[in-house]
Structures are given as structure tokens and as C-alpha cells.
């Protein structure tokens, strides 16, 4: 995502799409499944090194208009996507 812009909270915007870093592949998958159970479809993606600067971070990608729903749903599922 060449035009990505960090928010400081692990959320990156690129046009209409947002990426939320989860850390590991498992955390990203867990988030994806939790959202799917609430009819929110997201893709698991690798966050580029330039965005995180730490290498090999996975996260989820979704239309930015869903950002609020994504966060709320993950929080109610007990999933905190704050990368350590």
C-alpha cells in the first residue's frame, strides 16, 4: 500500500481501504473469523514492512466505512488488535 498513512493505533488507510494490524497470522485469522460470524467480511493481509517497520506483521483489510463496526465487533469478541 504505497499511499498508506499510519494512524498511530495500528490502523492504516489507503484510499477506501483500511488495514488493521493484528501482529501474528493467528491473531489476524482469529479476527477474521470473529468478524465473519458477524457478517463482516475482511481479508487477512500482510502489512508491509514500511508501514510497521518491524517486518512480518499480519492484519486485516476492509473498507474504511466498516472501521467502526470492525472495532466494536472485535472488542465485543474480546479481541484487542493492539500490536505489542
Amino acid at each position: 500500500m504505497n499511499t498508506s498513512q499510519g494512524t498511530g493505533y495500528g490502523l492504516y488507510r489507503s484510499g477506501a481501504l483500511c488495514r488493521l494490524s493484528a501482529g501474528s497470522m493467528t491473531a489476524a485469522m482469529k479476527s477474521q473469523r470473529a468478524l465473519a460470524r458477524n457478517a463482516i467480511k475482511v481479508n487477512v493481509v500482510k502489512i508491509s514492512s514500511s508501514e510497521e517497520g518491524r517486518g512480518c506483521i499480519y492484519g486485516i483489510e476492509f473498507p474504511c466505512v466498516y472501521s467502526g463496526n470492525v472495532r466494536t465487533t472485535l472488542e465485543s469478541a474480546g479481541i484487542r488488535l493492539s500490536h505489542p
Partner: protein, 388 residues
């Protein structure tokens, strides 16, 4: 070589590894190897992502069967490896640990090694006696008497690998919760054979193989952690997360999974668990107990044959023929196509508890594919050996 090409094989070594594997397990494993076997969690291309999905599916299947969380399902090489991770992760620095007198070497040896290095010390509580049938109260009373001020954990088998004796893990787990102890369970012989629930049984760390009661490929073990429990790592290396950092990170399962996972076995595990769930653990358990009872009736009627722990029906039976070494019995049975394991079964402690520390024994390991006819044939063969 296909074993069945030369002679009929009757397999009774299911306590070592189950055989045959369900066709669904074989098909899924082959399909993985042929169609999409990428490196899970190591890239973002199609095959890597498909592989990662399959790994997560397997984590969900394990968590669903045993009552844990998918991200606390840690894949290892085998149960021994999982137990080493658990024991050294909990006890790596100092303290006291209790183990039972029925342990396999996979539990005893890593603890003995730490004790030998003067890092920890341990005591053995009595979970089985060949002189008296122990009650739960007896076992908990013995555990209580062995607690020290710095006892940190209790680690024990769920079910023995040389007989069908099981430990009251729920009561021991509840005891651990009351006393603030970590409870580590070796489910090598019980996963897929007996019901296990991480929460209800108050288990902190559950270690098990994929290739025994879960009917999956070899080369895969599982360590299931209670939520919130953080262990020291046993192995460090690439885990696909934050490659520029020098540490393994804090997040399970990747924190504990250095190196590439065995994807074909993991895919097989999903199908193995599906197979077990379709049949039902209760039915598997009942089937094995039925065969065990039949074998006991038949073997008990043969002179010079002794069955050990003849009170606990289950998936495993140990016997000897007076005057013939277990290895010789195994050799004679093998010549007739029967596959059984003889000797000491990597379980010095358990053999001592059973009273077979000098002889070892012949072990029958029942599985879901064994039939009454298999048992009848085996017992007839044993009778023939006695009558030689």
C-alpha cells in the same frame, strides 16, 4: 512395503500410534502435499494464505474438542516435545514439582534432568498401587502430604501407557486451583479416548499427540495452554512475526512455534478430529472397553497368563506368560502377523508401580478399527504359544 502384501496384519500397537489411519485423514494429507502445501504464516501469496487458513482450522478443531482457545493451541513435534515445553516453560528456573508414580519417560526425564542440574526438585505421589485400590481421597491426601512451600506445579498422565489406569484429573485439577498450582496433563493415551475439558478439568497445560487417539499423521504434537498463561520459551527462531525484533514476541501460539509447522500432519489432524467427533469419544471408549473385557476373559482362562491391573478397562492391557520373556512372546506373535509392543514401554516408573519392573510386559493397545475377531485371534495365538 504394504504390510498386507505378505500376510494378514492384526494391529494392536495403537498405544504407540494408531493404525490404520482413516481414509479422510490420508486423503486430506495427500491433497495438501499435492495441491497447496505452502508455508503457513510466512508470506502472503495464495498458497501461504491457504496453508495458514488450514492451520487455523486445525487450531479451532483442537480448541473445540478440548475446550480451549484457538490461539492457545500450540503445535509441536510430538507429546514429548510439548511436555518439555510445558515443564521447562513452567519450571525452568526453580521450584518443586509433583509427578505421579505412573509417568512415562517423557514426563520423568525432563524433570529429572532439571533436578540433576539442581534447578528444581521433585516428588512422586502415589496414583496407583498394585496392593490396594486407591480412592481419589487417597491420591489427594498423598499429594497434600508432599506439598512444599515452593511447589509450583503438578504434572501427571491422564491415562497410563502400560495399562488402562486413569488418574482423577478433574479432582487433581481442582486441587491445583485451590492451591495456586499449575496443572500439566499428559494426555498421550487419553486424547480421543476419554473426555477432556480444559476448563472443567482445571487444566493449565494439556499435552497430546496427533497420531494416537486423534488418528492423525505422526510428527505432530499439541500443547494447549490455559488463556492468560505465559511460559518461558524452549525454542526460539523464525515464527513469521516481527522478523526485525530479536525476541519471539508475547502472542501465543507463535511465541512457542519456532520454525516451519508440519502442515500435512496439521491438515490430517483436522480430519482426524472430525473422524473422532463423528464416531464420538464415548463410543470409542466403549468399544475399547468392550474389546478389553473380551481379551481379559480370554486371557484369564489361559494358564500361565497374567494380566496386570485387571480392574481398569480401557484402551491398553498388559500381560505376561509365565516362563516366556515378553520379547519372545512379541516375536512369536509378530511371526503370526500380530503387532504388539513388548518390554518397558519407556515407562520405568509405571512398570515399577505395576510390579513389572524386572520383566516388562506385552502390551495390547486397542483402537477403533480392532474387532472382536481380532481379539479372539490374538488370544488363540497366545494360547498356542503357552501350549508350545
Amino acid at each position: 512395503m504394504n504390510a498386507s502384501q505378505d500376510q494378514r496384519i492384526i494391529y494392536f500397537d495403537n498405544a504407540a500410534t494408531t493404525f490404520p489411519k482413516p481414509q479422510s485423514v490420508i486423503a486430506a494429507t495427500i491433497n495438501c502435499m499435492e495441491s497447496y502445501c505452502g508455508n503457513a504464516g510466512r508470506g502472503s501469496h495464495l498458497l501461504a494464505m491457504r496453508s495458514a487458513e488450514e492451520v487455523y482450522n486445525a487450531r479451532e478443531a483442537v480448541a473445540s474438542l478440548f475446550g480451549g482457545e484457538p490461539d492457545n493451541v500450540i503445535f509441536t513435534l510430538n507429546t514429548t516435545y510439548a511436555l518439555n515445553m510445558a515443564i521447562k516453560g513452567v519450571m525452568g528456573r526453580t521450584g518443586h514439582i509433583l509427578i505421579s508414580n505412573m509417568e512415562h519417560n517423557s514426563m520423568l526425564r525432563p524433570i529429572a534432568r532439571l533436578a540433576n542440574d539442581k534447578k528444581i526438585y521433585y516428588d512422586i505421589f502415589t496414583a496407583y498401587s498394585n496392593r490396594k485400590r486407591l480412592t481419589v481421597k487417597d491420591i489427594l491426601s498423598d499429594i497434600t502430604s508432599r506439598l512444599r512451600h515452593d511447589t509450583r506445579a503438578i504434572a501427571c498422565i491422564h491415562s497410563s501407557n502400560i495399562c488402562s489406569h486413569s488418574l482423577p484429573i478433574r479432582e487433581i485439577g481442582q486441587f491445583c486451583r485451590r492451591h495456586g498450582l499449575i496443572f500439566i496433563v499428559d494426555a498421550a493415551q487419553s486424547a480421543g479416548h476419554l473426555p477432556i475439558d480444559m476448563e472443567k478439568d482445571c487444566i493449565d497445560i494439556l499435552c497430546m499427540p496427533a497420531h494416537k487417539g486423534l488418528y492423525s499423521p505422526q510428527g505432530l504434537g499439541i500443547m494447549l495452554l490455559r488463556r492468560g498463561l505465559r511460559l518461558d520459551t524452549l525454542v526460539e527462531g523464525g515464527n513469521g512475526v516481527r522478523s526485525l525484533d530479536i525476541s519471539m514476541g508475547d502472542s501465543a501460539p507463535e511465541r512457542y512455534e519456532g520454525g516451519t509447522l508440519c502442515l500435512p500432519a496439521i491438515v490430517g489432524l483436522s480430519k482426524g478430529i472430525e473422524f473422532v467427533r463423528q464416531i464420538g469419544i464415548d463410543r470409542i471408549c466403549a468399544h475399547e472397553k468392550h474389546l478389553w473385557q473380551l481379551a481379559l476373559e480370554r486371557l484369564d482362562s489361559i494358564r500361565r497368563v497374567k494380566v496386570y491391573d485387571a480392574e481398569d478397562a480401557g484402551g491398553v492391557m498388559l500381560f505376561n506368560i509365565d516362563g516366556i520373556s515378553p520379547d519372545k512372546v512379541g516375536e512369536l506373535l509378530s511371526s503370526k502377523g500380530f503387532c504388539l509392543r513388548t518390554g518397558f514401554h519407556c515407562s520405568a516408573l509405571a512398570h515399577r508401580s505395576l510390579g513389572t519392573e524386572k520383566t516388562g510386559g506385552v502390551r495390547i493397545g486397542f483402537g477403533i478399527f480392532n474387532t472382536e475377531n481380532d481379539v479372539e485371534s490374538l488370544c488363540t495365538a497366545v494360547k498356542d504359544i503357552v501350549n508350545i
